[in-house]
């Protein structure tokens, strides 16, 4: 503030040594903050605050990343896992059906899907297993050849096959049928297990538009 007939304090006045000036400024800063918060003195914490509460507050405070669209319009990514219903299977082919609930089907876009299945190798069997994959969608009962994949099968265990666009489209509509036909050197010495502990499944990364939520089970 300008005082009539004299210089303002910022322009000169009595010179303080650096330490005193620093003390003065610190005191001014403290008083300024307390005044603005309507506090007469700094609060003394009466009870500890949980770190979880603090974390929640900080997350709320920082909000969604800058430039992100509003929550309601933002597409959500999920992973959906569907276990197979086993259909008519023989020693030479395994038929698997995957269903989605009506609520989920048709409103999501499948970005990637893969089939997981357990191959049991018979003793002394090993080598290359060629897997023919036939696919059928919900509107088409005929199975068509989707892919032929080579799998190096050297031990019993879980194996993965990435599913192509045909299978992804059928899955997003709610019903996917796959038929696996083992071929090649190891075909006779291997079995795809279908029991409860080895049930084949499709793991799909999907994107759901809008507010629909899909709970992973």
């Amino acid at each position: 503030t300008c005082r009539a007939g004299s210089q303002c304090p910022a322009c000169g006045g009595p010179t303080l040594d650096l330490e005193s000036q620093r003390e003065l400024l610190l005191d001014l800063a403290k008083r300024s903050i307390l005044d603005k918060l309507h506090l007469s003195q700094r609060p003394t914490l009466s009870r500890p605050v949980s770190r979880a509460a603090l974390r929640t507050v900080l997350q709320r405070l920082h909000g969604p990343p800058q430039g992100a669209p509003p929550e309601a319009n933002r597409a959500q990514d999920y992973e959906i896992i569907s276990f197979a219903d086993t259909g008519l299977s023989t020693i030479n082919q395994t038929r698997l059906d995957f269903y989605l609930s009506n609520r989920t089907a048709g409103v999501m876009e499948v970005q990637q899907a893969s089939l997981m299945f357990f191959v049991q190798l018979l003793p002394n069997a090993s080598g290359t297993l060629k897997m023919k994959v036939l696919v059928s969608g919900s509107h088409n009962t005929n199975l068509t050849l989707a892919t032929r994949r080579l799998l190096e099968v050297d031990a019993s265990g879980w194996y993965q096959l990435l599913l192509g666009p045909d299978a992804q489209a059928a899955y997003s509509q709610g019903h996917l049928t796959l038929e696996l036909v083992p071929e090649g050197q190891a075909a006779q010495g291997s079995v795809i297990l279908l029991g409860a502990a080895h049930r084949p499944f499709v793991a799909a990364r999907v994107r759901v538009e809008g507010k629909l939520r899909v709970r992973r089970r």
Partner: protein, 116 residues
Amino acid sequence: GIDCQGGSSMCCRQEFFVDFREIGWHDWIIQPEGYAMNFCTGQCPLHVAGMPGIAASFHTAVLNLLKANTVAGTAGGGSCCVPTTRRPLSLLYYDRDSNIVKTDIPDMVVEACGCS
């Protein structure tokens, strides 16, 4: 606005940071870690007096010099080095009841200085 650098006696902004840990306030102020208070200091000769914030403009200084010559003796000095731009300070802190409070206190951080 001009930031103070060694040797200059003209109106400028001096940076001053209050570290909450250093003053023992970090236990109740969660964020930020400190307060960039800053302040204004320096001489304001009459010829740079004018509209705050544009005192550093050469043209303004010339105009004000003319004005000062005209009114010299009647104004009697009194131009102040004052904050011309400020911004709020956002605080996240525990209140007396250990509630977590977020508040923005306006005009707390001096961004630029000029002669009034």
